[in-house]
Amino acid sequence: MFPRPIEQSSRAARISYQVMLPLALILWLLPLIGVAITSVKPASDLAAGNYFGLPSSLAFSNYAEVFTQSPIGQYIFNSFKVTIPTVIGTLVLSCLTGFALGIYRFRGNIWIFFMFVAGNFVPFQILMVPVRDMTVNLGLYNTTTGLVLFHVAFQTGFCTLFMGNFIRALPRELIEAARVEGVTEIRIFWYVVLPLMRPAIAALSVLIFTFIWNDYFWATVLTTSKETQPVTAGLYSLNGQWIAQWQLVSAGAIVAALPPVAMFFLMQRHFIAGLTLGAVK
């Protein structure tokens, strides 16, 4: 283990490490802590110049106000309407592509894989004008469906890379044995491979959920009204309306951040497994 385990060091080193940990954490999360405190400050505190320091009373009413005075509830609902279908669509497509690329050797396999990987890295801006134009022509501009279709297509790139690698690592003998038994390929996919892919599916669903929930660029490009905009784009316009009302901006920001944060803490292991794919050989 590197560095040398702290238990093997002197008592003084151990104690100072235990003291440094929380201090470093507070320092690291200082901006976030500041915003969290601001979000429960009564407006009067801010007016009186109590910007930094504890709130005079806990004003959870800021949160209530955010929900009653702004369409943030609608924005959050829109975010779910974009995120959940995208997760499902991407998983379906990438299970199929991952299976095809991970199990079979055929001409062009590596090039198709390469296409998915490369496409995954391109800057969004090179896609913006054509994708927006296409979405307009399909009559899907300013709808959550338009946003979902694009996200599904784009995320399929990353997910195929992930699924392909995962399936490749499965024991080949299972598939060979099934084939000798005369099981059809489609049944092999459904009854042999798919059940083994559960960990990959779990990891990808949390990752894609977070990515799509946090997407801002496509939300601003493909949607414009509060009936369709996800919460990231919504926060941008609310930020414009709430000039200098930092208690509301802070509360809104925290509300918008909650779903992916909850997802992360509930499914931490899968999340990190997905994110660090390739970090270990």
Partner: protein, 337 residues
Amino acid sequence: MRGAGMSGPARPVPLGNEPPEGIVSEQRRAARMSLANTETQRRTWWRENQQRLTPYIFLIPGVLFFLVYVIIPIFESFWLSGFDWDGLGEKQWIGFANYQELFDDDAFYTSLKNNVLWLVLYMFAVPAGLGIAIFLNQKVRLIRAYKSLFFFPFVISQVVVGLIFAWFYAPNFGLFYLLLEWATGSGIAVLADPDLVTYGIIAAGLWPQIAYCMILYLTGLNAVDPEQIEAARLDAAKGFKMLWYVILPQLRPATFMAVVVTVIGALRSFDLVSIMTDGGPFGSSRVLSFYMYEQALSEYGYRMGYGAAIAVILFLIMMVFISGFIWKMVDDERRGL
């Protein structure tokens, strides 16, 4: 070679030679015999070829989607960059005029310069992530919770990160402003200062990026071979030497990933610029991705062709990096197979 080719051992046994499998299959065969001749042929053909055809059938939906929404638009953007187009009316072919205009455009150079700044300074996330990972790679009580909380900034949206840092920097009451005032006597409104604004935004971007690199390195450190470390310790290697000669070589996959995601993150920097400054003050915090959006879709008028030209430049910059990354990945893939 993984026996999935036509001549591989796993090829399904042709119908005629099917070994007796018991009553059920006996019945099935009888049923099959009674079917129309063509039907039988089709089934046989499918049975014989399914291993060759299945991958293509499985690939069709995903590849189609990806081509339509990702691959083809890349080429379309190249093509559109030769037009003068407002997104609605007639397109007018103007050849390379957009690029000519671009190379005389001060705002383009500002954006390009800022992109370079982003790329260079963002790289700080890699060593910083490694540093925090080493700091946290212990087995003390609650360490798992600490690791998750350190990772926290990556989970929240860049829009929220932008708002948090806008508040952090806010003149007269932001935490950073107050700390600076307390330490030096006068605060600085970072986001209103054309010379500092980009640095301020990059610092905000580094926050989640360091967290990302940290988690990559934590995973990497977990997999470092303990025997090599013990052997090196017996040779009295420690501290920085140990890190440089023993640990880092083993962390190469993590470092590669960290560099890839950091370069891509730096070139994709759109959200923070849009949220924190909208490119201002006086356009001094623009980056190419933001300038492109501004030209193509802003209240200044829709200049799709010009926007596409900016996107092409950004794409070409990214291509330099991507081709390097892909080259390494394909190389690994080939050797791994």
